[in-house]
Symmetry: C2
């Protein structure tokens, strides 16, 4: 079915009608109009309002059908009761896609709301395809398309399908903060026509999308089979990270009144999703942690972690956190342990694994040299580098070190480790305050491609899940080879 | 046995000998000397070095016994091999307590290290009490005593016993960031003489300490019975938060080489600890989250949560996170639901619980009015207020609102809710960046006494554990009443 959907017109429309403009900065569809302007959308924009003549320098049309040009996409931000009539106008104008921003449909649970949504569906059927209602629509930096004026235009290879507009916005904030660009994002709301599965199918084939992520409250009746079939095919080629909410009974009740979704049995969801190789997460932090980990190839070849840190307590508790997630922290080869003593001379410090760099952690060369040694152990699959930013700040002050130089040194050390070991490197920057050193360090670490986590627990969880996905892929290969 | 320990001399010594000073800013015991100076320690300080005459303006003594005044406490920062002789000197001088900062004892696992520690123990026995070796010793803002020059001097009612010096430092950073003052803290390292249980017994009786927290790698042989007996008595009067590391096999191995501790079976630990009413946590964040929640009386009377938030997706996922931790999000009384519509007029928004304040969340009066309504429901035991700081920032910009005023309004709203409802209020400030608004908001929220969490999951976990402690206390009362 989605074969016939021209996604190019959704993600790269040549012209957009914005229905529901006004003189109020944030009412109706005005947020969309502002966003198109601010983001520099290069296509044609046609605002629609029965009386207004001009808005933000654009000519305003009294209705959709009076626009004297081809329109690829309509954004509708009007009271729900007015939407069916506007849709008919869009159909007359032969607009192929309409996004309904308005809420007040099935999600409010009243008879009127449900009836209005049914009216939308029956009006549209076979004549125009609908995104929404009750949704934010499309964010596509590559086409300078978005729904918030401040949205970033960095392009990446991560795409996101969301049933929540608010969480879609929050997702963009989060990945942008990690210096991860979004490729395509769609907020679907009630999804009365175009469904999660339609976009899943498209993104599975989209060459620009390397990682697909979803915030899902529930699927439509009858959509489950298609969802799992598509997901199972997708995970053989690209990772699919699923945040399925309503995973508790009370959460499911809430999902019902948000997008009218039947959350379904979460135990069943989880079990099938895992069987299909999806990576299941439970909140925004886990979702973004996971994406940030998957972005750095390669996937770890196994669960054996080499840990480099500072301080006995940190070594003990980091080991706890990692093994609690199912990772292993095996002893390094004795030859490697011996060589580590050339760089961390204190007798009696940890060097079995974790390796305690002691106060020498301040010196990037020590980190690099020890990192290369740990990475050279054939049984180590990934490196975890734990740095206490507050300690570094204090040492810089005390020893009058140049923090800028120190940070550059540590970032370069990570870049060297990535190149030389060919193994995934993951860093944890433990910090209390977003001081200038903490911010600079995180930024420069991220520039190397290394994922940066605020806590060991979050790093361990993401690494463990990346490992599960690797095991899934490997099991598939083994099966195929039979 | 700890009856005979004069803890006053440990936490409020009138005079301190600092053995192992030098001209190097950070070597040996110099960090301690700098700290005493910077923190304004009001007692007498006697640095010791065989050749030096003066350091930081202090007269230096060639050895401990040549100090012509009474000394309550010695801090020793010299190579391990020199420590037993210094101890003998301290005994001659009749110093009752010595803290050995030096490492190189049993924790390094060599024959020499073990022998040196045995020498320390046998030298000291019956003549001087030892804190350490391999430890940072005491931090007591009330006596301007600490081991880092920058340590804060705010006094609070939370005390901490730590087997790790690094985590003790990190603990101080973390609670200070939450505007929580420490009362007394001790880093014990190898604890060859004075033990975790000695300090536990003292803090249990200490009227200045309302919450006791511990980072523990393992106890000495034979110490377990006393530990659990003390803990069981303590939890009847004050909460005891336990972070027991080595909770995985690999973590336990690491603990062995850190402080030479036998971590013991974690399953057994956890089971006994819970039975004794201890609150068990697994990392620094959970520890500090817990303290911040326990500090705000009262404990929630039950597990029923009233949630106030913005956005459908946030309502759904917050409900998930809370119920996943064992909390309940029950429907509000219908009369209350009806009244909420007077303040959040949008039809169809969540008002059953969670309550979606929609875009009105920007208005503190809405939050207060709805909060009072939710809090007035007799079945609601605690309120959770979830605020997306990034959204507030954007709305302030768009609507040209005064952020200062807005923040003050929201903080005042929380203060009003605490006073009027008499129920615990917990807030989540979801933010990406530490912008000025985020920092100010967190600071002002914290000033009201409301715990502020960065994620709903962390808030839910802390609330659920506070609830478990409340259940424990209630079960005790029921038992006593029988």
């Amino acid at each position: 079915m989605s074969e016939s959907i021209d996604f190019e017109k959704i993600f790269r429309p040549r012209s957009i009608a914005v229905v529901g403009v006004s003189n109020d900065r944030i009412k109706g569809a005005m947020g969309f109009l502002h966003s198109l302007v601010r983001l520099g959308y290069p296509g044609k924009v046609y605002p629609v309002h029965p009386q207004m003549k001009e808005v933000l320098g654009f000519k305003v049309y009294p209705n959709v059908s009076s626009i004297p040009h081809t329109v690829d996409y309509a954004i509708i931000g009007l009271p729900a009761a007015l939407v069916p009539a506007v849709l008919e106008d869009c159909i007359r104008k032969q607009i192929p896609f309409a996004q309904i921003f308005s809420s007040g449909f099935a999600e409010i649970g009243t008879k009127e709301g449900v009836a209005l949504q049914e009216a939308v569906v029956s009006t549209a059927r076979g004549k125009i395809r609908i995104i929404g209602p009750n949704c934010m629509g499309v964010y596509h930096p590559g086409a300078r398309l978005g729904f918030e004026p401040e949205q970033p235009l960095d392009r990446g290879n991560v795409s996101f399908i969301s049933q929540s507009g608010g969480l879609a916005m929050s997702f963009i904030d989060h990945v942008s903060d990690r210096k991860i660009g979004v490729n395509k994002l769609v907020s679907l709301g009630n999804a009365c026509d175009l469904k999660v599965t339609d976009f899943l199918e498209y993104l599975g084939k989209d060459p620009e999308t390397a990682i697909v992520s979803i915030y899902l409250e529930g699927l439509q009746e009858g959509e489950h089979g298609k969802f799992f079939a598509l997901a199972g095919r997708m995970t053989q080629r690209k990772p699919l990270v699923l945040w399925k909410s309503g995973y508790t009974e009370a959460g499911a009740r809430a999902a019902m009144s948000h997008t009218g979704s039947m959350a379904g049995s979460y135990a069943m969801w989880r079990s099938i999703a895992k069987q299909m190789g999806m990576i299941v997460v439970h909140n925004m932090e886990e979702l973004v942690d996971m994406i940030s980990t998957l972005r750095q190839p390669p996937l770890p070849a196994g669960d054996n972690l080499g840990i480099i840190a500072f301080g006995g307590g940190t070594c003990v508790t980091t080991t706890d956190a990692c093994t609690a997630q199912g990772l292993s922290v095996p002893p390094l080869e004795e030859e490697i342990q011996r060589k580590i003593l050339e760089f961390v001379p204190e007798e009696g410090t940890f060097r079995v694994n974790p390796v305690d760099l002691t106060a020498w952690i301040i010196n990037p060369h020590t980190t690099r040299n020890v990192g290369l040694l740990v990475g050279s152990d054939p049984k180590i699959d990934a490196l975890l580098y734990v740095l206490d930013v507050e300690y570094i700040v204090r040492q810089c002050e005390r020893l009058s070190l140049d923090p800028e130089r120190l940070i550059r040194g540590h970032a370069k050390c990570l870049a060297d480790l990535i190149k030389s070991t060919g193994k995934p490197i993951v860093s944890v920057l433990q910090k209390i305050r977003d001081g200038s050193l903490a911010i600079a360090m995180r930024a420069q670490f991220q520039e190397t491609g290394v994922p940066v986590f605020p806590t060991v627990d979050r790093a361990a969880k993401a690494l463990a899940r990346a490992g599960e996905y690797r095991s899934y892929l490997r099991a598939l290969e083994t099966e195929k080879a039979k």
